[in-house]
Amino acid sequence: MSLFALLLLPFAYIILALLIKKASIKKRLAILFATANFLWALALIPLVQFKEMIVVQTGGWQAPYGITLVADKLSVFMLVMVAIIFLVTTIYATQAVDKERRKSGHYFFSFGILMGVNGSLIAGDVFNLYVWYEVMLMSSFILISLGGEKAQMEGSIKYLILNLISALFFVSGVGLLYGNLGSLNMADLSRIIANQPELLPQLNPALILMFVSFAIKGALVPFFFWLPASYHTPPPAVTALFAGLLTKVGIYSLIRFYTLFLYHDAPFWNQLILIMGSLSMIIGVFAASSQYDFRKILSFHIISQVGYAVIALGFYSVAGIAAAIFFLGHNMLSKTNAFLVAGWIKHHKGTLNLKTLGEVYKESTIWGVLFFISAFSLAGLPPLSGFVGKYLIIKAGIEANQLTVTLIALFVGLFTLFSMVKIWLEVFWKNKPRDKVVKAPLPPPKDHWMLTTSVVMAILIVAMGVWAQPIINFCEAAAFDLMNPDKYIEFVLGKS
């Protein structure tokens, strides 16, 4: 029951939004339901600490036959982070998204995304995971093209086609896996593979297909091209939501699959994951440094930072996986907040081109500080959350004897700092170029809610850095569970 609510709350909002015509009521209901979802996700933390895992068998069908919903510590951590991001962007959207878009279903489809993301985080069944992916993708397709501007259309066609190919890869992988093993339940599949390791070579096509699908979804090199081509086209509130949720679900699924299936052939997958992660870090950060658009720089940074989480997974130790989980959480907060600041600048200055902006710090100190906090958290300066995340990853890398990759991670951190300083200098510091005048939207729109949400996010970033220990403990407990898949199998299938 406790897990159904995570799917029913967004669904209830979607139904209500169809019935209600008035925009202001829709807006209030959206905030109400997002808050309820957040509180529900919070309530799962003590539950999962007390009972280790929450398992729900839908319709009372026993595990390998019915659809299973499972929430372990990793899922709950991600659910809480997703709920925070969703609540914040929902409130932010009340002022950042124009009335036309809000009327034509901005909240409606963002709740569709929430339902898909929540579903993928608690799916205990491979086909079910695919269906939730599809729910999430459909809503994001519509949200990214909502409004129908020219750049948006272009961006959404690229986003749509590459993500559809990822979904096709995934579903063919599911088909091959089912043909080979005759089961769809993740725990059951993991047990079959553990009992019959001789089956592993014939599963490789299916696992590779699924891995590629997650790599496309998580924007790893060389599958990232859809992300920087589309993320800067929709309204900033939508980009903030996407940046916080979508790629991270791909990485979550990779962690889940890795610890249930791929670890049987660890030497091969570790190499592959480390190489792809390192390339993502390097290529993402170099491409980001060369851009002159606020949101494009941040979009390329998503690729670079997803690489960090992935190399931490490739170390394959409790410390490494704990670092990956912590880093995902930190990255969701910091990245979303950086996009929230970008949204405010777009709202007030009418452009995000670094060459035409300037002097923002002088005009609005508070937004300068907010950007400073999230940017330097991304770059990894103490005492912000990014420092703790990178410290954990580098420590895990040294412990796992992966010095090359660890040095690459440190080296990339330097360039992250460089590109963040570039935004800082160009947007907030330098004198406004007098020859390039961009008309600001008049009159300046109200922004108190935008400011409040961004301040809350900044406080969370600082808090996650300063009071990191309880969160690290939770992540380590989650990683410990993930490294012992027998526990997961036993919880889902019962004692054998």
Partner: protein, 117 residues
């Protein structure tokens, strides 16, 4: 029978990949449709193809020999995948229509304004 269908799936994938590499957006979209049907057939084939018996337990019997029947679960999955594919087909065609209204072109090579340079 399975071999024939497997070869057919391979052909469909080849056609789909050929289509999504074309310049016209309409052909790319058709390629997506072909690919999605090819993946549906993969799931269908994963359930096995046997025509001895329908997957019902006959009256008075307790069990059913799994070697005689198709796996019905795979066919349920195909149904689900077809429905999802239909929804996506409807949306992608609507998006294409709107795109054509806004930009007046079918050419993917003109779609480079949002790319990184």
């Amino acid at each position: 029978m399975e071999l024939v269908i497997a070869i057919f799936i391979g052909l469909l994938f080849a056609c789909g990949v050929y289509l999504i590499l074309r310049r016209s957006i309409v052909k790319v979209i058709l390629g997506i449709f072909v690919l999605s049907n090819a993946t549906n057939l993969i799931i269908f084939l994963a359930g096995g193809i046997r025509s001895e018996q329908i997957p019902f337990i006959a009256e008075g019997e307790q069990t059913l020999d799994p070697a005689l029947i198709n796996d019905p679960v795979a066919q349920v999955l195909v149904l689900k995948a077809i429905v999802i594919g239909l929804g996506i087909a409807a949306y992608i065609l609507a998006l294409k229509y709107r795109y054509f209204q806004v930009t007046g072109t079918h050419d993917l090579d003109l779609l480079k304004n949002t790319d990184q340079r």
